[in-house]
């Protein structure tokens, strides 16, 4: 951050090579953003430990509904179970990342998250009424984010399924309990 500040000050003094400098600035910013992302991924929301995933997700969704125009709902079905601390945080981040994809890319006006607990697994349904995208096109930017999510799901021995059309997208995780 300090480096960025110096760069900006330098650039302001010397407008001639601003293009070069702005590329450097943008590179530094990108790596800072990535670093911050990594740090934030490891930070735990205060309510996750005390109340588990369901509440943390409800609160996340409430927060999103307040700060964006998108209408969200969260529903818990079945008898909630607690995972170990690390898995809970992991799952929370996966759902958070999925939601942020919905908000950034889907143009949806409505989304729904359901956590469905059974004796064998937890199923998470995340659906939206957005524009959808081509799931098979791996060049797609959105698919890069999905790849990230799918790797994290794999790490929990879970599976991810996705279905997308112009009526919206359904993302489904199944995590063994």
């Amino acid at each position: 951050m300090f480096l960025l500040k110096l760069e900006i000050e330098e650039a302001a003094k010397n407008c001639d090579n601003f293009k070069d400098r702005s590329t450097r600035l943008s590179d530094s910013l990108n790596s800072t953003i990535q670093e911050l992302r990594n740090i934030m991924f490891d930070l735990k929301p205060k309510n996750l430990d005390d109340f588990g995933l369901d509440f943390a997700i409800k609160q996340l969704s409430e927060h999103i509904s307040k700060s964006s125009k998108i209408d969200g709902s969260v529903e818990i079905i079945g008898k909630p179970k607690r995972f170990n601390n690390d898995s809970e945080l992991y799952l929370f981040r996966i759902i958070q990342e999925s939601l942020s994809n919905v908000i950034k890319h889907s143009k949806a006006t409505e989304y729904n998250i359901q956590l469905l607990y059974s004796d064998e697994n937890l199923q998470v349904f995340i659906s939206d009424n957005g524009i959808g995208f081509d799931v098979d096109n791996s060049q797609n930017d959105k698919n890069y984010g999905l790849l990230n999510i799918s790797e994290r799901i794999n790490a929990l021995n879970g599976i991810m399924k996705i279905e997308s059309s112009e009526e919206g997208t359904l993302l489904l995780f199944e995590i063994p309990i």
């Binding site: 005390d50 509440f55 409800k58 729904n112 359901q114 469905l116 939206d128």
Partner: protein, 232 residues
């Protein structure tokens, strides 16, 4: 202190020793309270409860090893009449909701007065719930409603019939199967599955994909629990 019938046998469960001793000191001169034991985390709370069987537990929520709420959830299956009054730093709705769902008899925040604490202890010991002046029955009902999640079945549509195929597809969707998987299972084309999905949405006036998924999961879950076909 001599124990007699009028005394409430109390257990104090709090992980910070200084807060715990403060609480105990506060109640020292109250003649109807008899402190029987202290616990310093959720696991300790369970262990001591089973030994001393106090009439009432005054417990913190955020504690190491096991939170007060998780401890209550475990205890309440064996001791359904257990009385726990939570005393927490947090006043967020969700904490109160969680306490209620776990089976707590009361909830107070740590900024209350001694008088209110004693009042709450008395109420709870008499088997009456106490969630502070802000939470009367009506507010609690609203709180439960807010977090329980709203069921999405339009009552006007009860009686709407589905074909065997529709029922089957709706159940599969609710179980987490994608259209392509359903197509394979039912020996249909994916397009046919999507078409039938569209027909179900129309029948039940489900306007968006999230509404449809919500409907399907609840349908499949209802079927699983009742083990009979639900007649919409």
């Amino acid at each position: 202190m001599i124990e007699n019938d009028r005394n409430i046998r109390l257990m104090v469960c709090e992980d910070h020793a200084i807060v715990r001793s403060g609480l105990i000191k506060l109640m020292e001169d109250v003649n109807w309270i008899c402190l029987v034991c202290e616990a310093e985390d959720g696991e300790d709370m369970i262990k001591k409860y089973e030994i001393y069987l106090p009439d009432l537990i005054l417990a913190d929520i955020a504690m190491p090893i096991l939170s007060g709420i998780d401890a209550l959830k475990l205890l309440i299956t064996d001791y359904p009449s257990i009385k726990v009054l939570f005393l927490s730093m947090y006043s967020d709705d969700q904490y109160i909701y969680s306490a209620i769902k776990a089976g707590a008899m009361g909830y107070l925040t740590k900024n209350i007065s001694k008088d209110e604490l004693l009042h709450a202890l008395k109420e709870v010991s008499l088997g009456r719930k106490y969630f502070g002046p802000l939470y009367n029955d009506k507010n609690i009902a609203a709180l439960l409603n807010k977090y329980d999640g709203t069921k999405n079945t339009n009552p006007n549509l009860i009686g709407t019939k589905m074909t065997y195929r529709e029922e089957k597809i709706l159940t599969f969707v609710g179980q987490g199967l994608m259209s392509s998987e359903i197509a394979q299972k039912m020996n249909l084309g994916k397009r046919s599955v999507d078409k039938i999905r569209g027909e179900i949405m129309q029948k039940f006036e489900l306007k968006t994909l999230p509404a449809f998924i919500r409907f399907a999961t609840n349908y499949a879950e209802g079927k699983k629990n009742s083990n009979v076909t639900i007649d919409f």
